[in-house]
Symmetry: C2
Subunit: 210 residues, 2 copies
């Protein structure tokens, strides 16, 4: 997991990226329900008619934005060079219970939650979030499997453990973005405790700190 | 936790309950964005003008529905008579990773998720979901504290443990309702493992089965 997510460069590279950035801004500003191509046009430096020329509905723009955002996130969730599997998991727990919600990042999370809620009744959104969760699941499985192979972790079920960690991540984001008073620090501590007691082999911490 | 949630009686008790049921049905059918008082009227056996007389916006109806649904849920989350704290937690884990998503229940969960996503940009929804999460947090704290007092559980931090369990519950609901392929059984098993390894005292299981 990265320490920060960057979805947009300061200077958009091409017209498509400009359109995506305008869509992202308009969605952040107005929310899904009040979004319209007209309002996306207000965030777009070129002519709104260019948008109408390429897109018939706001959902076409939003599905493309979703793909764009998820591609960028997926490209930024690499295995960290030189970190052990144990460190990778601890980084990721710290990130999803902390850094993920810092300023600009929180807008990305809010955007994803806004779009995720469309998956309740729109199969296209559901399909895309299924792929995204699968990507994150596979990332966790890869880290856990690496840890098992190197003797840092016990021989646990990587898939079940990945599902659990991903669920904690999603629950933390949902609760943090929609309520006040969630105790992120407590969730971080309990998630680390789960990793330590369930995954970490007797001598894993020593291996981890070599 | 109950084994099923019932929000509406088969025969609505009064006009308010009829209005709430119509709002619930219309929201399930159309989703938040496409909902209108007109569409709620189509689910309502009495005159739509009655709705317009009492409510200016769909959000007024939805805030009242949210309160109605949460009140009903809160009234159905009692401590189970005769169950130990350990059994209560296991029931609740089984419920939030299984029974909660059975048929009619899933519509309740979808409704709550739809309304929760409004909390991303509407403080009134955010306030209500903060209270709801606090209610569920307090329920977990009560169970955990009872378990500590009776010697079934270790002397853990009830608040931190409650936050963690609540986050798992919310993450499970969000992922299950918006993606395909979540492994509920794995999450259930890992959540139980957390309870067993973190909370359960050495002799807790014996006390639990007395």
């Amino acid at each position: 997991m990265p320490s920060e997510l960057r979805i947009f460069a300061d200077e958009p590279g091409d017209t498509r990226e400009e359109i995506m950035q305008a869509t992202y801004r308009a969605l952040s500003e107005h929310g899904y329900t009040d979004l319209s191509i007209q309002r996306i046009g207000e965030e777009f430096e070129k002519s709104t008619s260019l948008l109408y020329h390429h897109y018939d509905t706001k959902d076409e723009l939003l599905m493309e934005l979703l793909q764009f955002v998820l591609d960028r996130i997926e490209a930024q969730v690499p295995l960290r060079e030189g970190a052990t599997a144990y460190e990778q998991l601890r980084f990721s727990i710290e990130f999803v219970t902390g850094g993920l919600f810092a300023e600009d990042q929180a807008r990305v999370v809010a955007t994803l939650m806004e779009l995720r809620s469309q998956a309740l009744h729109d199969p296209a959104y559901r399909e895309r979030f299924t792929e995204y969760d699968q990507f994150l699941h596979d990332w966790f499985v890869e880290v856990i499997t690496t840890g098992i192979d190197s003797g840092v972790f016990h021989d646990v079920d990587p898939d079940a453990t990945a599902e659990f960690l991903l669920t904690i991540s999603e629950g933390t984001a949902s609760r943090h973005m929609t309520t006040d008073g969630i105790d992120l620090e407590a969730i971080r501590r309990e998630a680390k405790r789960y990793v330590d007691s369930h995954l970490l082999a007797e001598d894993g911490e020593e291996i981890a700190s070599v």
